[in-house]
Amino acid sequence: MLNSLWLSHFTATSAIGRGLEPTHAALRQQRGGLAPCAFETVTDLATYIGEVAGIDEAPLPASLGQYECRNNRLAYLGLQQDGFNAAVGAAAARYGRRRVGVLLGTSTSGILQTEQAYRRRDPVTGALPDDFHYRTTHNTYSVADFVRTAFNLEGPAVVVSTACSSSAKVFASAARMIAAGLIDAAIVGGVDSLCLTTLYGFNSLELLSPEPCRPYDADRNGLSIGEAAAFILLERPADSLDADAVLLLGAGESSDAHHMSSPHPEGLGARMAMVAALKAAGLQPADIDYINLHGTATPSNDAAEGQAVATLFGNRVPCSSTKGATGHTLGAAGGMEAVISALALQQGFLPGGVNTRCIDPDIPIQYLTANREAAPRRVLSNSFGFGGTNCSLILGRAQ
């Protein structure tokens, strides 16, 4: 990466709150948002989920009605927070509608719409109902199309869908587009919403915890699925930045080349992504003040990531996973955790992980279970996904 980019505006909506203020408050109070799963018709899974309240009561405006699905509703709800709408409008006015890109991550897009439509297949012909719209709901690109359309933008747009690293990798792609001069600003982030495919899918892999997930706990027993919408407006730094302005200093990507649903056992791919991010930022491991771990709370993921972190950083750097609070928001996790990392930088604290009772003694890293007052200047955020896809981001304060 050639130059740092400015996270000029950002916002996140998840089970711990709509927008930055409630998200910050929940983190400060170490208040998690996980609750027993009673999503949709899913009553047979003994697991906890991080559901965003009120999506069912928040329809899209009629002009965007063809995009109606849970994922785009969550996106729309997220865009209303923290003045993000207005910030995009101002960026489009300043740079031009073709100079603002939309690069968002999602894993399952609006697949819930299709899952429900399959229940309403015509009993004779098997046809899907007329009110089912594939392009604007199910298709993986739907959420980027929705955001581009909602803001009347005409620039490049894309969805990155690399499972749970999706909305971290969008930062790298957007930075390349800005460096290449194709765009002046980008809406990046991710939106992923609850659906049956992920609930029953992770259940089939026996990766769902029967309790709120406990990242890096010796007795961790799986993940809790969540949903979130995180949006960041990324642009070149203004001539003078506030001291607490947050910059993207580097991104690093790698692949495990190992297995479809298990991480490389020594976390080799994870380590390569962190090394690449440090190199892109021109930093050394000693320059990092906090690591927001991927930390899904599955036994193998935390062991592999922990080994990679310990190899590079030893136990010097305070680390935590915030998935005990939000749940694993899958394709939105990279964006969600970039926003949490930005809050840590701006608000001067390190969020302790919740639900973890007994830190795994076999993972030699400095895992935080309580908040710590601090003045972090640079933080690293990890996102790793199925298919062995890894991305690490480094964010830092302007001063």
Binding site: L2, D44, R98, S107, I111, T114, E115, Y118, R119, R121, G126, A127, L128, Y134, R135, N139, T140, Y141, S142, A144, R148, E154, G155, P156, A157, V158, V159, V160, S161, T162, A163, K169, A172, S173, R176, M177, A179, A180, L182, L196, T197, Y200, G201, S204, E253, S254, S255, D256, A257, H258, H259, M260, S261, L268, M272, A276, G385, F386, G387, T389
Partner: protein, 265 residues
């Protein structure tokens, strides 16, 4: 910054287009196009357990990716990869939705991990051993253009050699009626920052308002219009003809992508 790259290898599979050498005279207009169903072998580079789990989208993606590397005499381990598709393993998606709509919602672990949009990239990593960055994109009908842009920015900004793999496959009923993709198709381009002895052409990509180019052959033009990744065919036609030319490809309205192609031999 100019978005340029050297095209060192091409992979192609489609109905009546078995591979790049076979398709070259058809695209150049010196051999007739004959439509027939696409055939693609299971990737031998995958371990047997993984090979059994691959559906059509993964087979097509891996086949064209390997062909592009082989034609360019490139080591896949050294290349970053950009995968782009308007869908994914669409048979697998249908199977999962059917199970989830039934009284027994147990889906198999293999079905689930093959449901991610990046499944072909995951299998590509296992088959090739490449630990380099791999991203996986979707832009609906603009997926070829989105992949080309991402690959070109990787080459131009990062200085990486990047393998672009674009692929699509049909949905079975009932989704087919909502998204009628007629056939599977795949195009791969090995794009390099420096000219080599294997470079076929230098390409430069920019945004354009001009309407996209059509193919003269009516059946090929029908494929181009119906299958998102086949929107890249005008670029391949230009390379097949071996003349310097500028083609315009579909991207996301109102934007198109202009590709200036200069043959290297």
């Amino acid at each position: 910054m100019k978005l340029t790259a050297y095209l060192d290898g091409i992979g192609l599979i489609g109905p009546g287009l078995d591979n790049w050498p076979a398709a070259q005279p058809i695209l150049a207009g010196t051999a007739p196009y004959e439509a027939r169903p696409l055939t693609v072998a299971a990737p031998q580079s995958l371990p047997p357990a993984e090979r059994r789990r691959t559906g059509l989208a993964i087979k097509v993606a891996l086949a064209v990716g390997q062909e592009a590397c082989a034609n360019g005499q490139l080591d896949a381990k050294q290349l970053a990869a950009v995968f782009s598709s308007s869908g994914a393993d669409n048979d697998n998606c249908d199977a999962i939705c059917k199970v989830l709509a039934s009284d027994d919602r147990h889906i198999s672990p293999t079905r689930f991990h093959n449901s991610v949009h990046n499944a072909p990239a995951g299998y590509w990593g296992i088959a090739s051993g490449a630990m380099t960055p791999a991203t996986v994109l979707c832009a609906h009908d603009g997926s070829f253009g989105a992949g080309l842009l991402e690959a070109l920015t990787q080459v131009a900004v990062e200085g990486w050699g990047t393998l672009l793999v674009t692929y699509d496959m049909p949905y079975p009923a009932p989704l087919h009626a909502k998204r009628p993709l007629p056939a599977a198709f795949g195009i791969a381009l090995a794009l390099m920052p420096e000219r080599s002895a294997h470079s076929l052409a230098r390409i430069e990509v920019s945004f354009s308002d001009t309407a996209s180019d059509a193919l003269a052959e009516p059946e090929l033009e029908a494929l181009r219009r119906a299958i998102p990744c086949a929107r890249g065919l005008p670029l391949l036609q230009a390379v097949a003809r071996g003349t310097g030319v500028r083609v315009v490809l579909d991207y996301l309205a109102p934007l198109h992508l202009a590709v200036a192609i200069e043959p290297c031999r």
